[in-house]
């Protein structure tokens, strides 16, 4: 994918990539992205984000540990009601249905679906992964701040010609990750990984249509002429 020349282009060309090429991510490129992303806003300028970027041998070593660990119980954090509410489940199932359909995986083929889900653990073969964590004391507005930083990272990656996939899935192995990184489980919560690399453009899993709600269902305008 070509480098995004504008915010709009970055926005419209960003999608969650689930098939990466083996082309490595140069340190100077990813450092530049992370350096600029520091200018993301945060309430009170807390900058409540912390992370580690892994590639090569350390990344593979961590992935091996996750592959042999069961998902942790209890979970690192609650996905709350969106996990069970019909309107949210419908959206989640729609993404899954569109994705598996693009890959020609039948709904009934649980084994094939499971194999694909397991690829989350190796971040869809992305050569680099950003692991995101922060102090447990952070509340809802700071989680929003972390989101502002993450989206800055993902858009800046597009500007550098890179692609990404945010992976809350990795939180199923939060303690394994924190243990590997030497991050305190007591003081810090692990949020998500961001798979980073170059997309395989013609892979069907990177091409299915993503649906969004109509603007007027989300936004109202009052007092405008």
């Amino acid at each position: 994918m070509t480098k995004a020349a504008s915010v709009t282009e970055a926005m419209l060309s960003r999608r969650s990539i689930r098939a990466f090429s083996d082309r490595p991510v140069p340190l100077d490129v990813i450092r530049q992205v992370m350096d600029t992303a520091r200018w993301a806003p945060s309430g009170c300028n807390f900058q409540p984000w912390e992370g580690a970027v892994l590639t090569g041998a350390p990344l593979r070593e961590l992935q091996q540990k996750m592959l042999v660990s069961p998902p942790q119980d209890p979970k690192e954090y609650s996905w709350s009601d969106p996990e069970v509410l019909p309107e949210c489940l419908a959206r989640l199932h729609q993404v899954g249905a569109d994705m598996y359909s693009a890959m020609n995986i039948e709904r009934a083929d649980k084994a094939a679906r499971g194999d694909f889900m397991a690829q989350n653990l190796t971040s869809f073969d992305a050569p680099a992964v950003l692991l995101v964590y922060f102090p447990r004391v952070m509340g809802p507005p700071q989680w929003s701040d972390v989101g502002m930083w993450l989206q800055s990272v993902m858009l800046l990656l597009r500007e550098a010609g890179l692609d990404s996939c945010p992976q809350e899935f990795l939180s199923l192995h939060a303690r394994v990750i924190k243990d590997y990184l030497g991050v305190s489980d007591e003081s810090h919560i692990f949020f998500c990984g961001i798979a980073i690399g170059y997309r395989i453009e013609d892979d069907p899993v990177n091409q299915f249509e993503r649906k969004r709600e109509e603007l007027d269902a989300k936004v109202r305008f009052l007092g405008f002429e």
């Binding site: 969650s16 450092r31 520091r38 969106p82």
Partner: protein
Amino acid sequence: MDVSEAVASRRSVRAFLDRPVDPAVLRRVLEKAQNAPSGGNTQPWNATLLTGEPLARLVALVADTIPQGLAAYSAEYPVYPAELEGRYADSRFGVGEAMYAALEIPREDRAARLEVFRNNFRAFGAPVLMLIHTPRYMGLPQWSDIGMWLQTVLLLLREEGLDSCAQEAWAVYQKQIREIVEIPDDHIFFCGVAIGWGDREAAINRFPVPRVELDQVVRWEGF
């Protein structure tokens, strides 16, 4: 405008020019921002944009409420974490002090500082105020999704030449907001975003807001 320039040139703008914002531009920005990512495609963000008469009514109602002081506050979430350590504790008052220093308002002049703070509740003179709310059942990861969408909006506004200020301050007057704007009872009110053309010459828009060094925030393994 490229992403780097948008990220680097965005700052919280607290003085705006008296110049209207084209609603077609706002629609364009928000249409594009719908492409923001969210876990499970939940898209947990909801917004109401005010200008003109409804915005003036909100500003007037809150102005009438301000004299009641803290007793009138009704934030539905903790704006600040209870216990902060290290660099987080250090940053708690940093922006405020830098701002008042730029305005040459000493700590003792509480009246002048309060007057500046109250500008929050005029959206700093911006012609548009966007109010953000979300269903109460949303959990912490969905708050992060809202942040991803919000930063997308702020960067797309920069691309249109517009400025903004994300204002959690409005959260303390969510009751008054609900008197003017119909926000569903089962939604929590998060924040306002002032939108307009920034007065980039104003001292309040020029003081530095430093960031933590990269290597204090991010570690690198295997490169």
